[in-house]
């Protein structure tokens, strides 16, 4: 019955696709913006010192950016079309202020991959700082908007706050999707294939929430420091790694991304392999088998008995034997016997309870390839 019931489920994505194809307001609104510009609804002039007047250009990627912009302005009826222009001198405009002594130093970008001009894929082989931070000059057709989204590189009076440029991370007021659109313009392939619709995408996590771009070493890409970045949100996982039995993330021997595909995957917990067990086998290949005598839960899902991050029980077990094993084994005889404190030292010390408990005899709990190994004792 259930099989037949689920038979209709495959049509759901097709239906969604149809809905999406019929109603694609993003492209429509992008077209509207382009039309508005084409009809001459352009912006007032900006600071002549920094603006290229001839380069007055509708937002080059307005279609791309409309998605977050729409979300940003979801409740407004209309929004003035944004005119964006690139600065006159490119990165030199920025670096005059953002040197090592500034509040926001950026020169370390030249010690990163983004700052390699010889690589035609990088920002500095293209529009330099403004490749990511957008055109440095912004203007709108309304003055009040110009004040809000005005020229970051224009002149400001003493005490006056400089209009922001597109910036990233927790300090940014830009919609997350707008920030990420800049990154995804280049970083689409490889591990980013699964980004769109992933847990972190749906959770509106900005790329810059995790990545530090203007740093020689991005902490999230370093095995020793990556976990601290993840702990900013995943607090419970930090506590897990302090438990007595743990995977050695706390010691910098493993990093979160050894197991988790943080940019998205199709497994439940963003795992790097198609299934949980396949992920575990990358380090524990001896437990892969296939064994002649399999222990069914071990073949099905390692997490039925173990936890991944940390446990107060040995070997990252969820609980200790014999009770762990007695959750599934209650045959007549020794598996079903209640093991009480009578079996502790001082009473009648019991091999069913102490030392390795069940594993004192059944030591092959992950499976056995011995002809006589059906009881996991050989």
């Amino acid at each position: 019955m259930k099989i037949q019931n689920v038979g209709i489920l495959p049509v759901i994505p097709l239906l969604l696709y149809c809905i999406a194809a019929l109603a694609d307001p993003v492209e429509k609104s992008a077209t509207a913006a382009e039309n508005a510009t084409a009809t001459g609804e352009t912006a007032p002039a900006m600071s002549a010192e920094t603006v290229q007047p001839q380069a007055a250009k509708p937002q080059a990627a307005s279609a791309d950016s409309d998605q977050p912009a729409a979300a940003d302005n979801a409740m407004s009826v209309t929004r003035p079309p944004v005119i964006e222009e690139y600065s006159k001198k490119g990165a030199d405009t920025c670096l005059k202020c953002h040197d090592e002594d500034s509040e926001y130093p950026v020169l370390d970008i030249f010690k990163t991959k983004h700052g390699v001009k010889a690589d035609p894929r990088t920002p500095f082989a293209s529009l330099q700082c403004e490749t990511c931070h957008g055109p440095g000059v912004k203007a709108t057709i309304f003055m009040e908007e110009a004040k809000k989204a005005g020229s970051h590189v224009g002149k400001v009076r003493p005490g006056e706050k400089r209009p922001p440029i597109l910036n990233f991370g927790v300090k940014s007021d830009e919609p997350v999707a707008e920030q990420n659109r800049m990154c995804l313009g280049c970083h689409k392939g490889g591990q980013h294939i699964y980004w769109q619709g992933s847990v972190h995408d749906n959770g509106e996590i900005a790329c810059a929430n995790c990545h530090t771009i203007h740093a020689v070493q991005d902490p999230v890409l370093d095995r020793a420091t990556q976990a601290d970045v993840c702990y900013r949100c995943h607090q419970q996982q930090r506590a897990e790694f302090f438990k007595p039995s743990n995977h050695p993330v706390r010691f910098g021997q493993l990093k979160c991304s050894d197991c988790h595909a943080v940019h998205g995957s199709n497994t439940a917990s963003l795992l790097v392999k198609p299934t949980l067990n396949q992920t575990c086998y990358t380090c524990h290949a001896e437990k892969r088998g296939p064994f002649l005598w399999e222990h069914a839960p071990a073949s099905e899902d390692c997490m039925l008995c173990h936890t991944a991050h940390g446990s107060i029980h040995p070997a990252l077990l969820k609980k200790r034997p014999p009770l762990l094993c007695q959750q599934c084994h209650s045959q007549a005889g020794h598996p079903s016997v209640a093991r009480t404190t009578a079996g502790l030292p001082g009473g009648n010390p019991s091999g069913f309870l102490l030392a390795g408990s069940c594993t004192n005899c059944h030591s092959q709990v992950h499976g056995s390839n011995h002809p006589s190994g059906v009881k996991m004792m050989r």
């Binding site: 259930k2 994505p13 809905i19 690139y86 030249f110 035609p120 749906n202 099905e300 084994h329 390795g356």
Partner: protein
């Protein structure tokens, strides 16, 4: 033999094909995956005069000495500082860049410790990258084990001359005199090499191999019926991995095709040990099989296509095979069973895997976002099922048994909806469906329906609140004990992974950034499982966790952080000693508390910096049995206190002196180990371990020189 239900379920995978083909047939000839400079941008004045493009070589090296006050495997479990005394501090890095994109990166970490790592990357950015990595990962498991067996960690472990066999450990008069320590530890040594090559702006390829040698010993045991001894099993593994991929990326379409191979070799295929007890039925020696050599091969295709600015579809399919065909050991090393024959010389074990997924994400309009996903995971065990004559623990001939190759199919379907009520408020909801088909087990099919809702409030970059609730119901198709499994399971047992279950879970997360210099996080989550029709087995479980943290940049020179957390894990289970209705009940209550504090401060700007980190973690595990009489075990406790103090003093521009002091205290109690000597249990020669305690301080002094 294939199971009828598995076949039926597998046949439904065909539903994926038309969608799959339609998504992969769409080839988009879009622009290259790089930024396009608009035609009307005048770059004639973009001279990048202030751009400090990196050129040349820079290096740094850190040399120093450290000292560990006491030996403890638990302290050094993963950091390599398990032994008291001095150790060297050797770290370093070197980087070279030229203006043509050429680069070399060398990093050396912990060169003088068992955690050493050497990492080299070189190439030309945008063209190719070569890399080599050597890494060691220790795992010091226990330094408190003792055994009378010689040859620990080898494939043959015999008792020392003069051993006195006895029916129980109390009668083994030479046990004490022959006891000797046996360290339990493993050490992984990994060497990886590989290359990434950008074939063109659209085509990339990558290749890497990893060779891992894992040596050491691990805790094991060898039984003769109800008499047994803990043994130090040899770990002598080699695992080779190979990854190769080619990917094609355009603006709207990204795909990759890859191969993954994993080859496991165990240099010890068996463990043979002498019976320390009075042999029964001629069982003077036992032999067990160790992990067999095995292989896994997997081909994977993954793709994503952006149908429009609002709609993305991605999917993947992976087809793999696990296999092992290690020669069987003898049915028994007991000569009394030499006449028994095997049905085959090896298992010829094969498991075919298929993993396929398809996902659609679309912004229907400015407020509404939908996503849907389908998943299919199959583990098709094609290992021949044969009937084996077998001998229990090299002692008694048992009733022949048939091996049961387990197969699984898991299918999932998910539908999620996000609706943005206002800019700062988003309501989400969804439905997840999962069914699992199993062969040769008590339940053929479980289905689970999960309904969830989530409310997200995000006010700019200052406030982020997420509240989520979920309710799931899992139903089993029927519970039928497997006839060929003997002795028969209690018919009232419901194995928890296949039992009817109601699961309710909820979580709330609050992120608060009132200013750029302060971050506050609050997190609470709870999950409750009710196994609604389980009389015997796990009947209920609950997991509750609370966490809070705060970090503050007090000034450009100072920062502090703190975190606190509590987790409670509780479960109820029941059993029957009379092969009928429940007559005993057990409760597990685990509680974990943790606190962390830290501070960093620049005492003298760019000259002297200091810092401290303190962590305290305490856990307790309570087990209470009820057999008509309440019976509480002693608590199993652990407590970890860790303090790290560190300081950097810049002696000159390129020379920094570093000092660090690390103190840790660990106390634990565990009734499974404490006061259990090798001869405490009459029928178990145990390792006689005690739960670890340590009190270790480490002092480190080093100098870092940049050049």
């Amino acid at each position: 033999m294939k199971h009828k239900i598995l076949k039926l379920a597998r046949s439904n995978t065909i539903f994926l094909l038309p969608i799959w083909i339609s998504s992969t047939m769409v080839l988009a000839a879009e622009n290259e995956n790089m930024v396009v400079i608009p035609d009307n941008v005048d770059l004639s004045n973009w001279v990048c005069e202030y751009c400090t493009f990196e050129e040349g070589m820079t290096s740094e090296i850190e040399l120093g000495l450290g000292s560990v006050s006491d030996s403890s495997f638990k302290f050094g479990e993963y950091n390599g500082l398990y032994d008291d005394g001095a150790f060297g501090i050797v770290n370093g890095s070197s980087r070279y860049r030229d203006l043509d994109g050429g680069f070399v990166d060398l990093k050396v970490r912990d060169l003088a410790l068992d955690t050493r790592e050497v990492d080299v990357k070189a190439g030309r950015q945008g063209s190719y990258k070569l890399f080599l990595n050597y890494d060691e990962i220790p795992h010091y498991i226990s330094d408190g084990a003792g055994t009378p067996y010689a040859g620990n960690g080898s494939s043959v472990q015999m008792l020392q001359p003069g051993w006195v066999n006895a029916g129980t450990t109390a009668g083994m008069t030479s046990l004490t005199s022959t006891l000797h320590p046996v360290p339990l530890y493993t050490q992984r040594k990994r060497l990886s090499v590989g290359a990434d090559v950008n074939l063109s702006s659209r085509w990339d390829t990558a290749f890497d191999v990893r060779h891992e040698v894992r040596d050491g010993t691990k805790r094991s045991a060898g039984a003769f019926f109800f008499n047994t001894a803990q043994l130090a099993e040899s770990v002598d593994y080699v695992t080779d991995e190979l990854n190769a991929s080619v990917s094609y990326n355009t603006k709207n379409w990204q795909s990759s095709f890859s191969y993954y191979g994993s080859f496991f070799t165990n240099h010890d295929q068996s463990l043979t040990w002498q019976n320390a007890y009075t042999p029964v039925a001629g069982a003077t020696t036992g032999q067990k099989a160790l992990a067999p050599d095995n292989e896994f091969h997997q081909l994977m295709f993954a793709t994503a296509y952006q149908l429009s600015q609002a709609t993305n579809i991605n999917g993947d399919i992976a087809i793999g095979r696990m296999q092992q065909n290690q020669d069987f050991l003898a049915i028994s090393v007991n000569p009394a069973f030499n006449s028994l024959t095997l049905p085959e010389n090896s298992a010829d074990a094969k498991v075919d895997t298929i993993n396929a997924n398809l996902k659609l994400d679309t912004m229907v309009n400015e407020k509404l976002r939908l996503n849907a996903a389908l998943g299919y995971d199959e583990r098709d065990n094609q290992t021949p099922s044969m009937t084996f004559n077998w001998v229990t623990t090299d002692t008694f001939l048992a009733t022949p048994r048939q091996n049961l190759p387990y197969s699984f199919i898991t299918r999932t379907a998910k539908l999620g909806v996000d609706y943005r009520i206002i800019r700062s408020l988003k309501l989400s909801g969804g439905y997840d469906y999962q069914d699992i088909y199993r062969t040769n087990q008590e339940v053929e099919n479980t289905t689970e329906d999960t309904y969830w809702g989530k409310l997200t409030f995000r006010h700019g970059s200052t406030t982020d609140v997420t509240f989520k609730l979920a309710h799931a119901v899992r139903d089993a198709s029927g519970y039928n004990p497997v006839a060929t499994v003997t002795p028969a399971e209690n018919p009232l047992m419901r194995k928890y992974n296949m039992a009817d279950r109601d699961r309710d879970s909820g979580s709330i997360h609050v992120g608060f950034n009132p200013a750029e210099y302060i971050t506050v996080g609050l997190d609470a989550e709870q999950s409750y499982d009710d196994y609604t029709n389980s009389l015997i087995g796990l009947t209920a479980s609950r997991n509750v966790a609370y966490n809070a943290d705060i970090s503050v940049m007090l000034s450009t020179a100072s920062s502090v952080y703190a975190f606190v957390g509590r987790q409670e894990i509780k479960s109820d289970q029941s059993g029957s000693q009379t092969y009928s209705t429940p007559d005993w009940f057990a409760k597990n209550d685990d509680t974990i508390d943790s606190i962390g504090l830290g501070v960093k401060h620049q005492l003298i700007e760019n000259k002297l910096g200091i810092g401290a980190d303190y962590t305290w973690t305490r856990s307790s595990s309570e087990v209470t049995m009820n057999t008509g009489v309440q019976d509480s075990f002693p608590d199993m406790n652990t407590e970890l206190k860790s303090l790290k103090l560190y300081g950097d003093y810049r002696l000159q521009e390129n020379l920094t002196l570093r000092a660090a002091y690390w103190y840790e205290r660990y106390d634990s109690s565990n009734w499974m180990l404490d006061n259990v000597n090798p001869d405490t249990i009459p029928n178990v020669i145990s390792f006689g371990e005690t739960s670890p305690d340590y009190n270790v301080s480490v002092l480190m002094l080093s100098a870092n020189y940049r050049f």
